[in-house]
């Protein structure tokens, strides 16, 4: 048994201090910006503004199994039971202050990028009304098949608008020199994160997607800061050491799987143990890869001017066929035996198209399992149904592997 990664404790510590700093931001004379998970955070770091991610908070709420109850509260206010549970968690928490960390510190401004969905636009409009703070929308045109010249110009010009917005609402000049450093650190963190994920190419894999979901927090929230680079370096070392010693995250790993969509936060441990009981490791996933999927678009020496393209071309903002290509690449790269798709009622842009991705994967000839759930609302999940489906799926995989080995 591999045991826990040592880095886990450090990570918890870093996150704890991050939230404590945010809580006392006003005493420290710092401003707080709430920002969407795919949003351009680097200019905030360069301006010494504390970025806060309601989605990360939503994940925490989900992992603490508070999601169903908090969604229900929002539904009592008139929000539909069929819409994004992250949003509902945040709306509830900003009223009741309920959450594993007692709610988020109020924002001074809101930064919303629609590169992950259109839902965040509605979510941030709601919070802009509630907190009566300025909202900046970083609008990233969808790349169905092509990133057009006019879209490139539009996002690049918005980068300038964004900086003017930050200058206006902080009353300070933008620090381009610091931005250069932050940009470099951000890219370095993305590259390290990529290497961390790639350690799972090793058989047995030193980590699983469940580890990735956890260690993702820093690349999401604090990329551009030194502490992130240092942290992922240490994590990478630890994982490489496991590989040298052939220590797998799952005992006697026999089967390797790929995960698609957000985690089912409230059933992480259950799912992890369930798959491990079949000697199956979820070695990679499309979700955490999104934070290093655009490295090639970033210009190391001029982060700002390349930021628009990088943020526009992320996994969720491209056509279904491009998403299928990414999955094909991972199937080969991580040598997986099966694909597990989370059909996530809360995330339509991630989930609609999953059936077509399955069709596009036909030549890969790998079994696919679809689990119906929601990322934080446990009311939308049936454990017995999921269990039966996972068992049946694993039987198919075992059979296939046996046949292949003959």
């Amino acid at each position: 048994m591999a045991g826990r990664l040592k880095a886990t404790k450090r990570m918890k510590n870093i996150m704890k201090w991050y939230y404590i700093e945010a809580k006392y931001a006003r005493f420290l004379g710092k401003k707080i910006a709430w920002i969407t998970s795919g949003g351009p955070v680097e200019p905030l770091i360069a301006m010494n503004i504390i970025p806060i991610y309601p989605e990360n908070h939503g994940a925490m709420i989900g992992a603490s199994k508070m999601g169903g109850k908090m969604s229900e509260f929002a539904e009592g206010l008139g929000y539909s039971s069929d819409v994004c549970s992250y949003t509902k968690n945040d709306i509830t928490s900003s009223i009741t202050k309920e959450s594993p960390i007692g709610g988020l510190p109020a924002p001074d401004m809101l930064i919303c990028s629609n590169n992950i969905c259109g839902t965040v636009l509605k979510w941030y409009e709601i919070q802009a009304r509630k907190f009566n703070v300025p909202l900046f929308i970083y609008d990233t045109p969808f790349v169905h098949t092509e990133f057009t010249d006019e879209a490139r110009e539009y996002v690049n010009e918005q980068t300038k608008e964004y900086i003017r917005f930050l200058e206006k609402h902080t009353g300070k000049k933008f620090n381009y020199k610091k931005m250069k450093k932050v940009g470099k650190l951000s890219l370095e963190a993305m590259k390290l994160w990529k290497k961390v994920l790639e350690t799972a190419e090793h058989k047995p894999s030193p980590m699983t997607a469940f580890d990735a979901f956890f260690h993702l927090a820093l690349i999401v929230t604090l990329r551009g800061k030194k502490v992130v680079v240092k942290y992922y370096r240490q994590l990478l070392e630890e994982l490489e050491e496991r590989n040298r010693q052939n220590i797998g995250a799952v005992d006697n790993e026999k089967y390797r799987l790929l995960w698609d969509n957000l985690p089912i936060w409230y059933r992480m441990r259950w799912l992890s143990e369930k798959f491990a009981s079949h000697q199956a490791a979820l070695v990679a996933d499309t979700y955490t890869q999104a934070w290093c999927g655009v490295i090639d678009y970033v210009n190391e020496d001029d982060f700002l001017s390349s930021m628009g393209e990088a943020y526009t071309r992320i996994h969720l903002n491209v056509g279904v066929d491009q998403m299928a290509d990414t999955i094909k690449k991972f199937i080969r790269q991580y040598d997986v035996d099966g694909l597990v798709m989370h059909s996530n009622r809360s995330c339509k842009p991630y989930s609609f198209g999953q059936y077509d991705i399955q069709n596009l994967l036909q030549e890969e000839d790998i079994p696919v399992l679809m689990i119906e759930a929601d990322m934080t609302d446990e009311r939308k999940f049936s454990e017995s149904q999921a269990e039966a489906r996972i068992d049946a799926f694993m039987e198919v995989i075992k059979q296939r592997k046996k046949e292949k080995q003959k």
């Binding site: 509605k122 609008d139 045109p141 169905h144 879209a151 010009e157 339509k348 609609f352």
Partner: protein, 372 residues
């Protein structure tokens, strides 16, 4: 032509839009270009010599769509896909997908991968209230124009574009006049007739639509109705339930205006005929009132609703939301709070496109109307 006859003509088309379009194609030889949202700049399609129409999702059974979009997709998106997959749109030449909600974006991908037709993604900005977004909007339209020219192998001349602006403006202002007549003389038309007229206009040849509207308006301008009546506004994405209008009318109320994609959002706003055509078309889209998938400031939807309430002396509001529609449903609770402050009665109904209006819903609607 008499009033009833014109209305029947509109109704016939609204009830069997695809039969009308199939016949049009045979008669005119025009390319049939469908669209998925009110954000489609139809002027370009007309100027390209093609026939624009709105795909509604006529299918009730969704067995084909089930294999592509999960059951938590809205019935409009799933219905449109079903129409495409099932062969109902056998006359179709191409489809325009303006950037709207997440579901329509994915519908575009799924359509492109499964249904052989010409494909146009119009990558509109999501915010419409900055000069930068407005200038990007113009460039997106320029690209759409070029795409149409290339794909249909035509030239869209400035003259043709100006003419189609004039034509669309004529049709839109007549639709608006019809709505105004209903607001001025409530009950002059039945709500289900008026809703059928708008739907038919989204399908018909625009010149014919404009002509028929003129005939209808002529008759109605001189007609009268009793004045004292409760005035209802319907707000949401689409309302495809003629029963609802009837139920409202049976209770002594009339839908005097709507804020629907299948209603006023289709005709609101005119393109400026004296401006450069592409600019004018973009200008209309960024100035008229929009659906909540687009951003025009954080309070836009609420302010717009208040404006409509005032303008049309609304007594009560019926929110008709499609089940699973995120943009509308996220706006609702804050609007609800505001309406409660204003003490305006309202009711939320969440439905699928082809749901029957059941007893429970009937009772809820009746109860709201009785409060008025």
């Amino acid at each position: 032509m008499q009033n009833k006859k014109v209305i029947n003509l509109f109704r016939e088309i609204a009830e069997n839009p695809y039969d009308y379009l199939r016949k049009q194609k045979t008669e005119t030889g025009k390319k049939m270009i469908g669209s998925t949202c009110a954000f489609t700049p139809e002027e370009f399609i007309i100027a390209a010599g093609a026939h624009p129409f709105r795909i509604f999702g006529e299918s009730e059974s969704l067995s084909g769509a089930d294999a592509h979009i999960q059951a938590y997709g809205c019935s409009m998106v799933r219905g449109m896909l079903e129409d495409g997959l099932s062969g109902k749109l056998d006359f179709l030449d191409g489809v325009v997908f303006p950037h709207a909600c997440d579901s329509i974006q994915r519908l575009s991908d799924i359509w492109r991968l499964n249904i052989p037709s010409l494909h146009f993604d119009v990558l509109l900005p999501v915010k419409l209230d900055t000069p930068l977004a407005q200038s990007y909007f113009v460039k997106v339209l320029e690209r759409f124009r070029k795409d149409l020219e290339k794909t249909l192998d035509v030239v869209i001349s400035e003259t043709a574009l100006k003419e189609s602006i004039i034509l669309m403006n004529r049709m839109r202002s007549r639709l608006k006049r019809l709505y105004e007549l209903q607001s001025e003389k409530p009950g002059i038309l039945s709500g289900s007739d008026l809703s059928a007229v708008v739907k038919a206009c989204m399908v018909m040849d625009k010149q014919e639509a404009a002509n028929r509207l003129a005939e209808l308006i002529d008759v109605l301008e001189t007609s009268f109705t009793e004045k004292k009546i409760k005035r209802i506004l319907i707000s949401g994405s689409v309302c495809s339930h003629p029963d609802i209008y009837e139920m409202i009318e049976n209770k002594g109320a009339v839908v005097v205006w709507d804020d629907l994609c299948s209603g006023s959002r289709y005709f609101e706003g005119l393109a400026d005929e004296d401006t450069e055509p592409v600019q004018a078309i973009a200008g209309r889209f960024t100035e008229r009132y929009v659906c909540p998938a687009k951003h025009l400031g954080v309070k836009f939807q609420m302010e717009n609703l208040k404006m409509l309430i005032k303008q049309h002396h609304i007594d009560g509001i019926l929110f008709m939301l499609l089940k699973f529609c995120e943009p509308f449903s996220f706006d609702y609770p804050d609007i609800k709070t505001e309406l409660e402050k204003m003490e305006i009665p309202f009711l939320l109904v969440e439905m699928d496109r082809h749901n029957e209006v059941d007893e429970q819903m009937r009772t809820r609607i009746d109860t709201m109307l009785e409060i008025l």
